[in-house]
């Protein structure tokens, strides 16, 4: 039952917050705080409790190919939902899920805190939307039934739309509609692909089900697999966002309230990476392998394009938004490199980017609350006015440019060294992207915080809540920079499982990657296991992927 609470608590807290908001805004805030803090505590407890199991299973034979059977999952609930269509309420969690849930509730909590002063209108409704977004996100990361996944995927869209459209900034309606259309259209493509997959699977086996674990290894002609894969890719690439499908993101980020930006950058766009890891690649490994070169190119372009565009902005929030495009390029190339190094890097990048970019958004939001502008042309020399804010901004600017000693560096290094095994050029372009990251990060610091103080602004430095929020994020990033091992261990089973699920397909080239080959050697039988489990899929892949 525990997994269900993750969805239930914020879902139930949401109307409570709305009701409380009618009494007083403070009450709504406290309810929302409890509605995110409680599941955060729960997931933290579950994480700690699972530590032994997560690390022990790695040294043992490892999880079986489909994962479920060997017990790397905490399968919690598998209740029939729409039985006639083979749709069930099927939620489960593994290490990756735990990490994503930690992110969801952690950043949910931060977005409640950072709205404490900034949101003053319709406070109850605001927290209702916020909590429902969090609930939808939790559902997305838990669902293993593809229909259920799609349901949550769409469900969190609506409260997020309202967050932007109602509490947003200048062009809020335009941005909210753009965000909605982009996600909706691409989501529909994914739905079509899901239904097609279910039908093909049903015709072949007679069992019509949306259960992801049963759909795994459905024999597909290469061409069909490729088209279906593109359906999933469209949805996840828009979410991520991958170049050139990213243009909703700068608008949505810029016009969203701070809490919305934090959730968007911290968790929502991570669904793209999560979906590729969890569903797209295991379902269509050969098609993904065939698409690899293109995806690597898109990712590499995204890294540099995002960084250059970030440099070109004068709206500070928009600048931070474009850095996300750049950083998610790393995630994209990491996913498509698909070796252990890169995948661990991707997971780490999801967490570290959430922290560092979330912090930058909170910072920009705080700045906007104080000086009522995000235009860097109207800033300058702010360090003198608010030295703590300046120092904090410098720290997170360094995180953005991948300074070693912070988690972002470990993540980007692992991704690039993994990508190097697959494509040197993509890795080199990624490394060049780090130079451009330096350019925009330092330029941002100069325009906002350094240089001459021309505008004679005067405002208070960081508040206590802000100091607390930033301090916790700084400590987390430094910890991850010097000791990311807990996170790596947590994700290890998942990454291992993914490797084994796709072993023997074109995605995992034998001998191409030293790390996986040495790893496979330690758990000899498991490798054959994986090959047998997915045996049906590569059989069609042999027919020649496009």
């Amino acid at each position: 039952m525990i997994l269900l609470w993750y969805v239930l608590i914020p879902t139930v807290a949401a109307p409570l917050a709305w009701l409380a908001g009618r009494r007083s805004p403070a009450a709504a805030r406290w309810v929302a705080l409890a509605g995110t803090a409680a599941p955060l505590a729960l997931v933290a407890a579950q994480w700690i409790a699972a530590t032994d199991r997560l690390s022990a299973a790695f040294t043992a034979a490892g999880p079986g190919a489909a994962g479920l059977a060997a017990g790397s999952w905490v399968v919690d609930l598998r209740a029939p939902w729409i039985d006639s269509l083979g749709i069930s309420f099927f939620v489960a969690a593994d290490g990756l899920t735990l990490i994503m849930l930690l992110l969801t509730f952690g950043l949910g909590l931060l977005s409640v805190l950072c709205s404490w002063r900034g949101i003053t209108t319709r406070v109850g409704a605001f927290h209702f939307m916020l909590l429902w977004t969090v609930a939808g996100l939790a559902g997305v990361f838990l669902a293993l039934d593809l229909f259920l996944f799609y349901f949550f995927f769409e469900m969190m869209l609506i409260p997020m739309y309202f967050l932007i459209a109602v509490w947003g900034h200048e062009r809020r309606v335009y941005s909210a509609v753009k965000f909605f259309i982009f996600t909706q259209v691409s989501g529909l493509l994914m739905l079509v692909a899901i239904v097609a997959l279910v039908l093909i699977h049903g015709r072949a086996t007679g069992v019509y089900t949306f259960d992801f674990t049963q759909l795994l290894g459905t024999p597909l002609p290469a061409g069909t697999a490729f088209v279906l894969m593109l359906g999933f890719f469209a949805a996840f690439a828009v979410k991520l966002p991958a170049w050139p499908l990213h243009t909703w993101l700068p608008d949505a980020h810029t016009d969203a309230p701070t809490a919305g930006s934090v959730l968007l950058a911290g968790v929502l766009i991570k669904i793209g990476a999560y979906g590729m890891l969890r569903f797209m690649a295991p379902l269509f490994p050969d098609a993904v392998a065939a698409f690899r070169t293109w995806a690597l190119a898109l990712g590499a372009i995204g890294i540099i394009y995002g960084a250059v565009l970030a440099y070109a902005q004068s709206d500070m929030k928009r600048l931070v938004a474009y850095t996300s495009v750049s950083h998610m390029g790393f995630v994209l190339i990491g996913v498509f490199a698909w070796n252990e190094l890169a995948l661990q890097g991707v997971v780490l990048q999801l967490v570290c980017h959430a922290l560092s970019t979330g912090a930058l958004f909170i910072l920009v939001g705080g700045l906007q609350d104080r000086i009522h502008t995000r235009d860097m042309a109207r800033m300058g020399g702010l360090w003198r006015v608010a030295p703590r804010m300046g120092g904090t901004a410098m720290f997170f600017a360094m995180a953005a440019l991948g300074l070693p000693g912070l988690g972002n560096f470990v993540a980007e290094f692992l991704i690039l060294v993994g990508v190097w095994q697959v494509s040197r050029w993509a890795a080199v372009l990624g490394a060049v992207g780090l130079v451009f990251a330096t350019v925009y990060a330092l330029w941002m610091m100069q325009r906002a915080f350094q240089g001459e103080e021309t505008h004679r602004l005067s405002f208070p430095d960081l508040t206590r809540i802000e100091v607390g929020m930033f301090a916790s994020m700084i400590v987390a990033l430094v910890l991850l920079g010097f000791w990311p091992q807990p996170l790596i261990v947590t994700a290890r089973q998942t990454v291992d499982g993914l490797q084994r699920m796709t072993a023997g397909t074109a995605l995992v080239a034998p001998g191409a990657d030293a790390s996986t080959s040495t790893d496979g050697a330690s758990g000899g039988p498991a490798v054959t296991d994986g090959a047998a489990d997915t045996g049906s899929a590569p059989a069609t892949g042999d027919g020649g992927a496009p």
């Binding site: 753009k178 170049w243 050139p244 990213h246 243009t247 700068p250 250059v308 565009l309 440099y311 070109a312 902005q313 070796n339 252990e340 190094l341 661990q344 020399g381 360090w383 003198r384 120092g391 410098m394 360094m398 300074l403 070693p404 000693g405 560096f409 470990v410 290094f413 692992l414 690039l416 060294v417 190097w420 095994q421 040197r424 890795a427 080199v428 490394a431 060049v432 780090l434 130079v435 330096t438 350019v439 330092l442 330029w443 610091m445 100069q446 915080f449 350094q450 240089g451 001459e452 103080e453 010097f482 000791w483 990311p484 091992q485 790596i488 030293a514 790390s515 996986t516 040495t518 790893d519």
Partner: protein, 633 residues
């Protein structure tokens, strides 16, 4: 004792963190104590640890201390581990001892500055990062230190950040060095992919055992990529352009980071990975060429600078060029030796220059100084010692011993050659010229600016200490014709291969005769500089301003036009593209789709206007069109 090694970098790190947390409450006195105290403790500890290392060398002449495993992914498990051997001992001692002296100097130098605490936070963080760089037992941890010193360099160049020009200089330093770092990290990817480890000792062992067969291309590529990183960090051609601008930072920063320690990180890296360069002669040759070209280019630039610190910056570039030349001709130990002596005399020169600049109320132009010999006698004495060491005045300066060794190696090593020898002699001549030019212009002649502030003990003690080191520092490795007292060489032999000095050229290069040539060249340089800038100063200036010479002077003054070139080829195109694309090119496509929909809607709704005649006409036209298609088909 050795097990306390980790405390050497940890102490400055702790100092930095303490200052971040409690800096405001500590006040200036407390900040100075924490900032300087942590580094001084670190220096004492470094002396103790290195002393016990030398007294009883551990097995394999190296001590390794693994603190914890950084991370472990699929068999790639770099450690947070420290490695102490002869090479790192030299660097650690220089960093902590010179670092301590510079911290002490800074307490007085920065006493009136608003950012006193911030300054010491950055300085302590720098010392920590630099120590990590030279103590790291694997290349990834080395890279952590490498980027950490880059960050501190940026923060300290841009320290007076109200002035946008300073911030620009800081950014330039960070970005240009990061260009080199891209090559370095690609080198790490390559090495890891082929050898599955980044632990330096193991890596070098693997490289050596597998060579020359099938990996020679990999070794060459790795050598060149690491050289790319070294070139950026050590301000060598073609990435040297950031260092002269880096002089925007406070003088102690220039002394510590941009002269004594950080800029020699590239020398350290190449010396540390010398196996790669031994096995890839082309990569080694590239190092030698980079060094030679840089030492000449920068030497001539130093000759015409008007800004005291810029002149010293170009001389730093030039001297590091010497170190690269030494590395390139397999004189690994000579490079380390020159690093050490250079750290002493160049730190001294910058600290003395800092006193001069403050004394003259922030005057940087050497042509507006002059006559300070009587006003600031202590500074005059110590600066002259430093300049003499820079010029390599024979016997009594440490610079002579190390530079003469490099010049000898460039000729006598089997990897050396006449070209390198001649270039290094020309460099020595130019060094004599420009180093004493500064002495004549700053301390002799008529007084042009009033002295407004005089150094007290916190500045004088470091000056005297460094002057003493600049004299005695060279005695640890005397040439054979002077008795051959060479404890440093014996120490370095435990960690580095000796220079391959063989044949007649080597015999000559190590003889008194060759040393006499060096001495004569240096003496000629110093003598000519006396003539040019003492009795004939006006004529020299008139000559430099003459229309036929002026373009060359301008070229040298601007550092051979590298900045000009980069500005046009890299900076402006990127800026222009960014400006042109700032509204996101891709979004125009999206906007275009939206616009098409809107336009279609407008067009169609305009047609739906209720006018029967229009409807009829369109229907008729349609019928005709359909018929036409059917009939004509």
């Amino acid at each position: 004792m050795l097990s306390l090694l980790w405390l050497i970098p940890a102490l400055p790190a702790a100092g930095s963190v303490l200052l971040v947390l409690f800096g405001r409450r500590l006040g200036r006195g407390g900040t100075a104590w924490v900032g300087t105290g942590s580094v001084s403790l670190s220096a004492v500890l470094a002396l103790l640890v290195c002393g016990s290392f030398l007294a009883a060398p551990p097995a394999g002449d190296a001590y390794r201390q693994v603190l914890w495993t950084w991370f472990d992914v699929g068999g790639f498990a770099p450690a947070i581990g420290l490695h102490l051997d002869a090479v790192s001992i030299v660097w650690v001692l220089v960093i902590t001892v010179v670092g301590f002296l510079i911290h002490l100097y800074s307490v007085e130098h920065m006493e009136r500055d608003d950012g006193f605490t911030r300054f010491f936070i950055y300085m302590d963080l720098f010392v920590f990062s630099m120590l990590v760089l030279v103590l790291a037992d694997n290349l990834l941890l080395l890279y952590l230190g490498w980027e950490g010193v880059g960050l501190c360099s940026y923060l300290l160049i841009a320290f007076w950040q109200e002035d946008a020009q300073n911030v620009y200089s800081g950014r330039k330093a960070f970005i240009v060095t990061r260009v080199g770092d891209t090559a370095l990290i690609a080198g790490l990817f390559l090495l890891f992919t082929h050898y599955h480890t980044l632990e330096i000792g193991q890596l070098m062992h693997l490289v050596a055992s597998r060579s020359p067969a099938p990996d020679s291309g990999v070794v060459l590529a790795a050598g060149l990529l690491l050289l790319g990183g070294a070139v950026g960090k050590s301000a060598q051609a073609p990435l040297q352009t950031w260092l002269p601008d880096a002089m925007a930072g406070p003088s102690p920063v220039s002394a510590l980071i941009h002269a004594a320690t950080m800029v020699t990180a590239g020398v350290y890296l190449i010396a540390r990975t010398n196996v790669l360069y031994t096995l890839a002669p082309d990569a080694r040759l590239a190092v030698a060429i980079v060094g030679t070209v840089t030492l000449l280019l920068a030497g001539f630039s130093a000759l015409v600078q008007r800004d005291l610190k810029r002149a010293l910056a170009y001389s730093t570039i030039s001297q590091i060029g010497y170190m690269f030349l030494a590395l390139g001709v397999s004189g690994w130990e000579a490079a380390v030796f020159h690093f050490m002596t250079h750290a002493f005399f160049k730190a001294l020169l910058f600290l003395a220059a800092g006193v001069v600049i403050v004394a003259l109320a922030d005057e940087h132009d050497i042509f507006r100084m002059g006559g300070l010999r009587r006003e600031l006698p202590a500074v005059f004495a110590t600066f002259t010692v430093g300049a003499a060491a820079l010029a390599a005045l024979p016997l009594v300066t440490d610079g002579f011993y190390s530079k003469d060794l490099i010049i000898a190696t460039s000729l006598g090593s089997v990897d050396g050659g006449a070209w390198f020898y001649v270039a290094s002699l020309i460099g020595a001549f130019v060094t004599g010229l420009y180093s004493f030019r500064l002495v004549w212009l700053v301390f002799f002649g008529a007084r042009r600016t009033e002295v407004s502030r005089r150094p007290r003990w916190r500045q004088l003690v470091p000056l005297y200490a460094l002057a003493a080191l600049s004299v005695t520092g060279g005695f640890v490795w005397m040439p054979a014709w002077l008795g051959g007292f060479e404890p440093l060489r014996k120490l370095l032999d435990t960690a580095l291969p000796p220079a391959p000095m063989e044949g007649a050229a080597a015999h000559f290069a190590e003889s008194v005769g060759a040393a006499l040539i060096t001495i004569l060249v240096v003496a000629a340089g110093v003598g000519l500089s006396y003539v040019l800038w003492m009795p004939r100063r006006e004529r020299t200036q008139a000559f430099a301003a003459a229309p036929s010479v002026q373009p060359l002077v301008a070229l040298w003054l601007g550092g051979w036009g590298f900045d000009w070139f980069y500005e046009r080829v890299f900076v402006r195109p990127v800026k222009r593209f960014a400006h042109w694309a700032r509204h996101d090119l891709v979004d125009h496509v999206v906007g275009g789709i939206a616009w098409l929909n809107l336009a279609g809607w407008r067009g169609l709704s305009a047609g739906q206007n209720g006018r029967l005649r229009g409807y009829l006409a369109v229907t008729g036209l349609g019928v005709v069109l359909v018929l036409a298609v059917v009939v004509l088909r």
